[in-house]
């Protein structure tokens, strides 16, 4: 991982079953609950059983 003190990057993958209503607040809450600081992400799949797949890159240490 990082060769020096500071932030590090890691892959991000998370599944979420959305509830009715606006998606973004739910996604942000899911990241927060999982302790994820997302840097870049997108919903990359929608599965009838598992819900939404969020894929991307996260920061392991806050900047």
């Amino acid at each position: 991982m990082s060769g020096a003190a500071g932030p590090a990057l890691a892959p991000l993958e998370l599944w979420l079953r959305p509830q009715p209503g606006a998606l973004l607040p739910q996604l942000r809450a899911a990241f927060a609950a999982a302790g994820i600081e997302p840097l870049r992400w997108a919903i990359t799949a929608v599965d009838p059983q598992r819900g939404l797949r969020l894929e991307g890159v996260q920061l392991l240490e806050p900047l």
């Binding site: 932030p7 990057l9 892959p11 993958e13 606006a22 990359t44 929608v46 939404l52 894929e55 991307g56």
Partner: protein, 353 residues
């Protein structure tokens, strides 16, 4: 007399194999058309960067993806400028000859285009770019030394740079199947995801416009090269478009921001995105704020995240030409429903109030 501009957001997600805009700046014709239709188009480097080719238009606003997301969410405003002072950040991993090529691009942009460039500096350690594909097949990627990237960015900003072009040494992929597919016009841009990670990191940390160009060893000529990938084979670097794009990229102002000429997320009148790639932050933010979402079915990609899957209300069009017509209709105050048949009769409602 033309109607006032309709600020419009164009999103062509990076690294998901979009048929239009998933290669070397091949989203640019669509962006130019939408800029003409709207009078004000905000879009990201992936849609506009064509290596040695670029198109400069005051109606096109070059906004990196992290700041584009914040803009769409109403968290930052965009302040158009006459020019930026461009700092050039070179990865210490770039070999001397390739480094010289990049410095000479900067010199050419000063001498031939009149851009304000400097200082130029190297990171204090190799950035260590790595490439990765996610479970969907989208390209992502990472850096071993984000700290070195951010330190170099800080030094450039302290030295007076108001925007930063960063060039990182990317792994050469010579002979790989992924590269062959990309050059043949059937694959995903394997570099794009890591590029976006680099620029996201810098913009998030520094709060100024930044964009990225990869440094790569030259490729052997390919007779079967797809036209959409051809722009990347014109020269020694991918840097000219980044310098031109950043030279008039709008400043980023945290909301609430006030002042004449600012563009606010609340001003957006439309957002245009591929119909199967609606699950990004900017598109969701716009959709949830009621901005009309134009989904282009004629730009397939490897994702199938559409309006029905996400429960979003969308206006589906077949092409960017049709999207431009719809943007023009919105700009002129014409209800899109009036342009299609059948036209449903008005519903009876309550007469109270």
């Amino acid at each position: 007399m033309s109607a006032p501009p309709l600020p419009t957001l164009l999103v062509i997600p990076t690294g998901v194999g979009c048929a239009i805009g998933g290669y070397a700046g091949d989203g640019l014709p669509a962006a130019r058309l939408l800029a003409a239709a709207s009078g004000c188009l905000i879009t990201h480097p992936n849609a506009l960067n064509a290596a040695a080719l670029y198109w400069s238009d005051p109606r096109l606003h070059y906004v990196e993806g992290w700041s584009l997301n914040r803009f769409a969410a109403g968290e930052i405003a965009l302040a158009p400028v006459r020019r930026q002072r461009l700092g050039l950040l070179l990865d210490a991993a770039i070999e001397p000859e390739l480094r010289l090529r990049h410095r000479q691009v900067a010199e050419a942009c000063r001498a031939s285009l009149g851009l304000t460039i400097g200082p130029v500096l190297e990171s204090d350690a190799p950035l260590g770019v790595s490439l990765r594909a996610g479970p969907s097949g989208a390209s992502w990627g990472s850096l071993q030394r984000p700290d070195a990237l951010l330190r170099a960015g800080e030094r450039l900003r302290e030295a007076g740079a108001t925007a930063i072009a960063v060039v990182a040494r990317f792994p050469d992929d010579l002979g790989s199947e992924a590269l062959a597919a990309y050059r043949a016009g059937s694959g995903v841009d394997a570099l794009a995801g890591a590029e976006a990670v680099i620029s996201h990191l810098l913009v998030r940390h520094l709060g100024i416009p930044c964009a990225h160009a990869p440094a790569l060893a030259p490729l052997e000529p390919e007779p079967g090269l797809d036209p959409r990938a051809a722009a990347e084979e014109l020269g020694h670097t991918f840097l000219p478009c980044v310098l031109v794009g950043l030279s008039r990229a709008p400043d980023l102002r945290p909301e609430p921001a006030t002042g004449a000429g600012l563009l606010h997320g609340a001003d957006l009148g439309a957002v245009v995105a591929p119909a199967g790639a609606l699950g990004g932050e900017a598109v969701l933010a716009c959709a949830e704020r009621g901005v009309p979402l134009i989904a282009v079915a004629g730009n397939p990609c490897l994702l199938a995240v559409d309006g029905a899957a996400l429960g979003l209300e969308i206006l589906t069009v077949a092409s960017y030409a049709e999207a431009a017509g719809l943007v023009l209709a919105l700009r002129e105050g014409i209800d899109p429903a009036a342009l299609a048949r059948p036209l449903a009769p008005l519903e009876d409602g309550s007469d109270r109030g």
